[in-house]
């Protein structure tokens, strides 16, 4: 690997942030400028949303289940095993559902976007698209952003639900708790602030996944090796950004929504 000076390194990073910001701004403003590629939005929604269903359902279910197994031990020590529904519900809806779904979709789709767009860049298909009078930002980036934000929202709702179901299965089969009591606790524990927080996060995470995936794809250089590098970087950057943004958003929403 070629060594570069710290100044050059810093310049490259600042330039990358500038380019990323420019792309995110355009991906939003393009939503209000014609032409709008509805067919591409639907196609991407199918690829991202329906395609991610199995991994989201599986990861959500088993996360809820393992959460119940782990917390049962602690709760039993304090004689509060009946609170397991509350614990699983709050953890899944506020935190684990959005973050895990985000990470799963990032792993699957940020990489897919980076590799697909990166391949198009290195084979001059993006240049060809521009030469044929089509704005790749509108045709390729905007539909991916809209679809990811939209589908991640619903995937998170589904993940929350199957997570609760996973907790229920463990509570019923392993801990011999009453299923109705579990559901009742889980349901009653949730207040507006919890649900709101759990539904704001996937919108932000979806935006991060799509813009990061598209950014690394559109800036891929250096043939197939460059596409591979862009794919890896997209997954890493999207995942790290999700967990970092999660902390700040959680703190911000807790202050705004006056959590007790």
């Amino acid at each position: 690997m070629e060594l570069i000076s710290p100044t050059e390194f810093a310049k490259q990073k600042v330039l990358a942030v500038q380019d990323y910001t420019w792309m995110t701004v355009h991906s939003v403003t393009n939503l209000f400028r014609k032409p709008i590629y509805f067919a591409d939005i639907v196609q991407q929604a199918d690829l991202i949303g329906v395609g991610s269903l199995p991994i989201v359902v599986l990861s959500g279910f088993f996360t809820g289940a393992v959460l119940a197994v782990q917390s049962a031990n602690t709760l039993q020590r304090f004689g509060s095993i009946t609170l397991i529904g509350q614990l699983v519900s709050l953890s899944m809806v506020r935190e684990l559902g959005p973050v895990l779904t985000g990470l799963m979709v990032a792993g699957r789709n940020a990489s897919g976007m980076a590799s697909e767009l990166g391949s198009m860049v290195v084979t001059e298909q993006i240049d060809a698209m521009r030469a044929l009078g089509t704005d790749p930002m509108k045709k390729l980036v905007a539909p991916r952003v809209v679809s990811t934000v939209f589908m991640l929202f619903f995937l998170t709702v589904l993940s929350d639900f199957v997570g609760l179901a996973g907790g229920l299965v463990v509570s019923k089969l392993l801990l011999n708790l009453d299923a109705r009591q579990y559901w009742s606790n889980a349901w009653q524990a949730l207040v507006f602030q919890d649900v709101f927080m759990g539904l704001v996060k996937p919108v932000l995470f979806g935006f991060i996944i799509a813009t990061v995936g598209c950014f690394y794809g559109m800036t891929a250089r250096g043939g197939t090796q460059g596409v591979g590098r862009a794919t890896t970087q997209a997954v890493v950057a999207a995942s790290v950004m999700i967990v970092v943004v999660d902390l700040f958003v959680t703190q911000f929403l807790m202050n705004v929504l006056s959590f007790k």
């Binding site: 032409p35 084979t123 001059e124 298909q125 240049d127 060809a128 698209m129 521009r130 030469a131 044929l132 009078g133 089509t134 704005d135």
Partner: protein, 282 residues
């Protein structure tokens, strides 16, 4: 030599009265980081003419085509295309201008997830306002022009290199653009396929009077174009008598070290006293 059939109606190229030339480069400089690729390039392409660009690998030939399309911006200088200053035009307005220009990329750059039909029809579909039957007719017309109508339902991965290049030409000509930019259209192809593609470019020049820039490494292709003419009546190319070489709108431009060292017709080229040029064409 026999030529493909001519299914398209003769469409005269429209040249805006305000524009003196189809393309004009004025003292264009461009560097990629430390590497200065173009150092004050100036030339013009008259309407209806084909200009062949030569130079060693990395001399900036393909870059000139991308600059003309506005895909790159120069560091300094001015580029006029069909009367528009592409160096000052914002990207969103360039899309309108690009609809009047066709480009054949070096590696064809066909959309690999689309069929030949969808690739060729791409511009018509994007422009909207065309009925499906009209699109189908025009796609078939363009594919007949490049003799590939039978490949309409195939994907680019199912085509040979030469076929991909011909599909790229069909995609570039489907809207009968006023200017076509060819980036090494015969590169890496066998002589027979190369000749077919050279004939197609000649036909585009002589029948449709399209202005074009042709980047190539094959000197013989450009000499063929300078010494032959496509005859619409016989639907064949014919060799011109020695004294009539300058009758065809064909010129040559040679780049060296980021500068233009020759810009003229075939007669001027063959009579050049420049040692580098003599060595280049020998």
């Amino acid at each position: 030599m026999p030529a493909p059939t001519l299914p398209l109606d003769s469409a005269s190229a429209t040249s805006p009265e305000s524009a003196a030339h189809a393309i004009e480069f004025q003292d264009v400089h461009l560097a990629f980081e430390e590497n200065e690729v173009l150092r004050g390039i100036s030339f013009h392409l008259p309407f209806g003419e084909t200009k062949a660009l030569f130079g060693v690998a990395g001399s900036g030939k393909s870059t000139i085509l991308k600059l003309a399309l506005g895909l790159f911006k120069p560091d300094s200088g001015r580029i006029m295309v069909l009367g528009n200053d592409v160096t000052q035009t914002p990207e969103k307005d360039l899309f309108v201008l690009r609809a009047r220009i066709g480009m054949v990329f070096q590696e064809s750059a066909l959309f690999d997830s689309l069929t030949v039909r969808e690739n060729v029809a791409y511009r018509l579909i994007e422009e909207h306002g065309f009925e499906d039957t009209t699109i189908e007719d025009r796609v078939r017309e363009a594919l007949r022009f490049v003799e590939l109508e039978q490949a309409i339902d195939k994907f680019p991965s199912e085509l040979s290199g030469g076929m991909r290049r011909r599909v790229a030409i069909a995609r570039a000509i489907i809207t009968q653009p006023e200017v076509i930019l060819y980036d090494s259209p015969t590169g890496g192809l066998d002589p027979v396929t190369s000749n077919t593609i050279v004939e197609l470019i000649m036909k585009q020049r002589d029948v449709y009077k399209t202005s074009s820039l042709l980047v190539t490494h094959r000197l013989q292709d450009a000499f063929t174009m300078a010494t032959h003419q496509f005859d619409k009546q016989t639907n064949q190319t014919r060799t011109l008598p020695r004294g009539q070489y300058c009758d065809v709108p064909m010129s040559f431009l040679i780049l060296r070290d980021g500068k233009v060292i020759f810009d003229g017709d075939v007669r001027e080229l063959t009579h050049s006293k420049d040692e580098y040029i003599r060595e280049y064409i020998s």
